[in-house]
Amino acid sequence: MKLSPNKNLAWRIIEKKAYILNPEKSELHCLDEVATAAWELISKKTEFAALCDKMREDYDAKKEVIEKDMSEFIKKLREQSLLE
């Protein structure tokens, strides 16, 4: 299943950081540079495996580390209702 952002969000990338406004919860989230890179990939709708492959390519890290980090990141995004 493809990952994609919650359709009701407004977000901007400013100085390499994503600022995500969830109007339903009146919450503003700020992502660091690495999380922002992952968010940008998710915004183009991507499968988890493809996300991990691209992040591994960009950050030259081990597959297991990337998959663990991305798994935790996706979990947090879901907890905050930032994903569809």
Binding site: K7, N8, L9, A10, W11, R12, I14, E15, K17, Y19, L21, N22, P23, E24, S26, L28, C30
Partner: protein, 281 residues
């Protein structure tokens, strides 16, 4: 400023037509008379109700519920209800027959109209010094009225140009600038409203925007655009909770943050003249 704001209770006892909007030169109005060529205007048929819950003082106020329903926007609280057609900007409202409820309804409607004309209503106080405005932003208890009182003391208690001690309208204007306008929405310093509204027609160039922090020291800390936008958003009055609204508010906040130098202002009671000069230089 609100021009020609009628005393609703002096019109027909239970009913009023109001034109609510922003003029071309800026500023809010709620008037039975309509300015020529307003920037944006909504014409409302307002019924003042004696029997809404707030009149009876039986319970506190609920949160404002705002939603899009077909081609209308609906604003609802236990003491008011408004339904406005999005295409024609005409609508009907019922509001409890007291000044607080009418004031609240107008705040909600202006907070919806202002972004459509490029402005944001912000929880801010503000002053005009020379030809420029200085805005002090923060939630309840952050010191919006306090800083106005401190500035007034520095002026020996004499008259200063106050935009508001509660809500200021800020808008992006041409050439990457921003303007600030007084509003009729005041807090504890509402006794000063009449003497100040006269002086604030048309607004003025916004020179600086400060995010307030009460502290045992005085410091002015510059903020970058992203940080300023992040601080601004929680202080914007807006009630619709959908993507289109969020996108609009975020764009405007970012634009304003880019057009006005923004700072965090740590301040304490008994402000000195030197500190005031540092704020307004």
């Amino acid at each position: 400023m609100i021009k020609n704001q009628p005393d609703l209770f002096s019109l027909k006892p239970d009913h009023a037509f109001l034109n609510v909007g922003l003029t071309k030169s800026g500023g809010l109005y709620a008037s039975a008379c309509s300015p020529k060529k307003p920037r944006i205007e909504s014409r409302l048929n307002i019924a003042l109700k004696r029997n809404l819950a707030a009149n009876e003082g039986k319970r506190g106020f609920t949160d404002v519920c705002a939603r899009i329903s077909g081609r209308n926007v609906v604003f609802k609280r236990n003491d008011f209800y408004a339904r406005i057609n999005l295409d024609e900007l005409t609508g009907k409202a019922s509001v409890a027959r007291n000044e607080y409820s009418v004031n609240s309804l107008l705040r909600v409607i202006f907070s919806w109209l202002a972004p459509q004309a490029g402005g944001l209503l912000m929880h801010s106080s503000g002053i005009k010094a020379g030809n420029k405005s200085f805005i002090f932003t923060g939630i309840s208890g952050s010191g919006k009225s306090t800083i106005i009182k401190e500035i007034k003391k520095i002026h020996g208690g004499g008259r200063i140009d106050i935009l508001s001690d509660e809500i200021v309208l800020v808008e992006s204007s041409k050439y990457n600038k921003a303007r600030a306008y007084g509003t009729p929405f005041w807090g504890e310093l509402s006794g000063l409203r009449k003497e100040n509204n006269r002086g604030n027609a048309g607004g003025s160039a916004a020179a600086k925007l400060f995010f307030l922090r009460k502290a045992p020291f005085f410091k002015i800390k510059p903020l970058g655009k992203a940080e300023a936008m992040t601080r601004m958003l929680p202080n914007v009055l807006y009630f619709l909770k959908n993507k289109a609204a969020a996108d609009m508010i975020m764009s405007l906040a970012l634009e304003i943050a880019g057009n006005i130098p923004c700072f965090e202002l740590f301040f304490m009671p008994r402000m000195t003249k030197k500190q005031y000069e540092a704020i307004t230089e």
